[in-house]
Amino acid sequence: MTPFTALLSIMFFPAGLSLIFSGMLYEWVDRKLVARFQNRIGPRWFQPLADTIKLLVKEEIKPHGLNSLLFYGLPIVALTGTLTAALYSPIFGLSPIHSFPGDLIVTLYLLSLLTMSMGLAGWNGSNRFSLIGATRTLTQLFAYEAPFLLALLGPAIAAGSWTIKDVSIYAGSHWMIFSQPVGFFIALIGLMGKLELPPFDAPEAETEIVAGALTEYSGRGLALFHIGKSVEMVVAVSLVTAFYLGGIGNPFLFLLKTLVIVLLMAMLQAMLTRLRIDQTVGMWWRFGALLALMQILILVIIKGWLV
């Protein structure tokens, strides 16, 4: 990995620009599928690209009474968090660029960096809607983080290592979805919680608190958050696919598998009503965490028995 190819891989191929464009692709597929489930045509293929460019060239208003360092800094922190998480995750079915022992935990932390910076962005202002949006974002973060982490720990324990690369190689040979179906189900639902997709989009409930934490953002800040969200979708979906649906292999098959997961998520989005924040937290802690713990317990017992 000469510094030049490292720079190239960070700037263009697996991370950087290609990631942002694949994030836009995934967002378009998601919006198109939801639209088709609602029996309408849905957006054109270049819609996320047009939205992002338009937001970038729009003027950014900074409201009075905000800490301007936080106002401009947080979107950048959010995007860098997700982009660095992408370095360790198996995007496009290729083995991750870098890996070090225990990078699963670091990646998940970096992914939730976006949600935390969004919560802080909402907190940093006098607008009541963004304050309530911020509290909801953070409460929901604590709700889905534990079950989602446990759901991803299942395959890690089965593979016997904490680095994503080894787990994906191990997952390549045995499909974890059959050995740990509960884990896959919780990972899928956790994914929707992390990306704040409709059943769990209380933090940005359009009809209650306008746009949640992002109410005051316009122009560049909003564009960075927007790109951050779609990149987070790519990273999280490829993580879950690598762990549960037969690891990394040829990129085309991997892309197909991720699109199957996006289809599942779009179907759930179209079918369910938005839950209130107390209902989501209640559901996560009662069902999500318990099921994930039970799954881990069974796994450890079997692992202990086998070895």
Binding site: F37, P63, S126, D201, V210, E216, M271, R276
Partner: protein, 555 residues
């Protein structure tokens, strides 16, 4: 319990206070009473649970007679008892408040005081209801000597920026808010996510229609009143034309009455499907919003086919109906109704069985039957709590005697019950429309109508999709009415929503507001922005000039 018995019983109840009674129409009883014993008379009626307070109409009889008059209309079944209180015009006329016994009266009293200058003694909330903040203090639009120039805008006292009151938090849901397709103002004081207090301000959609009706002739008023509310436009035109035809003693041909009932049924289907979509959009269930509005397009096509316009159909004309609905349209109507009935049954099943949807509607905003009666709720919101009041059955008007409608009530009183009541009402409407189309009475569809309506006053009540719409029409014998008072159904449902909102989650607030299907509402939510263009700093006022100036010279 026929109307005569109702009226006779009301006469007995009000005998101790009555200064003079008369029966202007077969189902109406006017009782003149002094202002001081108004609360006693009102509680006499409410304690004997004689009907409900439908509306308070304020009237100015003019400078020469030097008399203001407040009419308190109570309705029970088809009988209407009006308590008439006359007040001096000069000085400051006072009237005791009745909102202690009847909470919904506080809205009517606020309207009476700001429109006619009658100070209502110890009313809970004397603030403005409809008039804008910058309206001068002592100018009353519904007085006869009101000139438009008197109402120059006065610098309003700056509305306090709702922020933090003690440790409570005020969340304004404002005139521009995705939950409200219309401008409405709600301030919920929130403790965490739980609502502890609610305040609301109407007036953003107040255009001054009642005053405008006095400057237009009878025909033009038809189109002005149709645009009070775009969703239940047919209700207003049929109520208005029915009242004016009663005043002019014009006999409307039965075929025209049947066509009016048919279009009213179609409007109910379009209005309830629209409401189903809007509430599920607010609950975050966008798929149901998309599906219900897709199926609503069938009704809109049908309405366009029959009346010529998707919204504001203007099919009612004074003395009958403009377009005929004959046999060649009945085939399209039946085909459309088959599809609609099947879809409505499907939505009834979805709304009562989808778990995530039920978590947002079951047990939310539950209201008992007595609370509904006490708060004066009307229409499907009241019928969902078991109150069986429906003007089409209590006081059948138009063709409802010939093609009756069955009443749908539900006991649970929560948001889910309101869904169930509205969907079943649609099934009843579909059935009624089919019976009308199948045996449509023969005859022509419109009769001659005089341009001048003889003097007199009348009350006209119609069942709008949201509840009872109450019209009071007074004609001085000329080409235009001297007084026209409209009380729309949503005004009565607000009290129940505001009191019920306390104790619920903030996330339920939009659902509660939309649950009663408000016809108009509003508030401000913006944070002020001072923008610094290149070198100089713009103050707030300059910012506004800068904005308009920069875009102004573009044209």
């Amino acid at each position: 319990m026929t109307t005569e018995i109702h009226l006779q019983r009301a006469g007995e109840l009000l005998a101790p206070f009555a200064k003079g009674t008369n029966n202007p129409e077969v189902n109406r009883l006017d009782v003149k009473i002094a202002a001081s014993d108004l609360p006693a008379a009102a509680s006499a009626l409410t304690d004997a649970s004689w009907g409900y307070l439908a509306a308070i109409t304020g009237m100015d009889h003019g400078l020469d007679v030097n008399e203001l008059e407040a009419l308190y209309h109570f309705c029970e079944g088809a009988a209407v008892t009006t308590l008439r209180v006359s007040l001096p015009r000069e000085g400051c006329p006072e009237i005791p408040s009745v909102s202690a016994q009847i909470p919904v009266a506080s809205f009517f009293e606020r309207e009476l005081s700001e429109m006619l200058g009658v100070t209502v003694v110890n009313t809970p909330d004397p603030s403005r209801l409809f008039l804008p903040d910058d309206w001068p203090v002592d100018v009353y639009p519904l007085r006869q000597d009101f000139k438009q120039e008197q109402a120059a805008s006065v610098q309003p006292d700056p509305t306090p920026e709702p922020g933090r009151v003690g440790n409570k938090f005020i969340v304004p849901i404002g005139p521009q808010h995705p939950a409200l397709k219309e401008p409405g103002h709600f301030e919920f004081t929130v403790d965490g996510e739980i609502i502890t207090g609610a305040r609301m301000r109407l007036g953003y959609v107040h255009r001054g229609i009642e005053k405008a009706t006095e400057q237009r002739n009878w025909i033009q008023n038809l189109y002005l009143l149709e645009r009070i509310c775009g969703i239940c436009s047919h209700t207003h035109t049929s109520a208005y034309s029915q009242g004016v035809e009663k005043l002019a003693q014009v006999e409307v041909p039965p075929r025209a009455l049947a066509i009016r009932e048919l279009v009213a049924g179609l409007e109910r289907i379009h209005s309830h499907l629209l409401w189903l979509g809007v509430v599920s959009h607010e609950a975050g269930f966008d798929t149901l919003f998309m599906y219900s509005w897709r199926d609503r397009e069938t009704v809109m096509n049908l309405l366009e086919e029959l009346t010529g316009n998707r919204v504001n159909y203007s099919i009612c004309a004074l003395g009958g109906v403009k377009h005929d609905i004959g046999t060649e349209q009945s085939a399209t109507i039946h085909k459309a109704l088959d599809y609609l009935e099947e879809r409505i049954r499907y939505y009834l099943d979805v709304v009562t069985s989808d778990t995530t949807f039920l978590q947002r509607t079951r047990g939310v905003g539950t209201m008992t039957r007595d609370e509904a009666i006490h708060f004066g709720a009307l229409g499907p919101t009241a019928r969902a709590c078991g109150v069986n009041r429906d003007v089409r059955l209590d006081a059948p008007y138009g063709a409802y005697k010939r093609f009756p409608v069955s009443i749908i009530t539900d006991e649970r009183g929560d948001l889910e019950a309101r869904f169930v009541v509205r969907m079943k009402e649609l099934l009843v409407s579909c059935f009624t429309i089919r019976t009308i189309v199948d045996n449509m009475p023969t005859g022509e569809i419109i009769t001659k109508f005089p341009r001048k309506v003889p003097a007199g006053e009348t009350v006209s009540r119609v069942e709008a999709p949201r509840g009872e719409a109450f019209y009071y029409i007074k004609s001085g014998g000329g080409e235009s009415p001297t007084r026209l008072h409209i009380r729309t159904p949503s005004l009565c449902n607000w009290t129940s929503v505001i009191n019920k909102a306390v104790g619920h989650q903030l996330a339920d607030a939009p659902m509660l507001i939309a649950g009663m299907d408000p016809c108009f509402s509003c508030n401000d939510r913006m944070v002020t922005v001072r923008r610094q263009a290149d070198t100089k700093t713009l103050s707030w006022f300059e910012l506004r000039e800068y904005g308009i100036k920069k875009y102004g010279q573009r044209k």
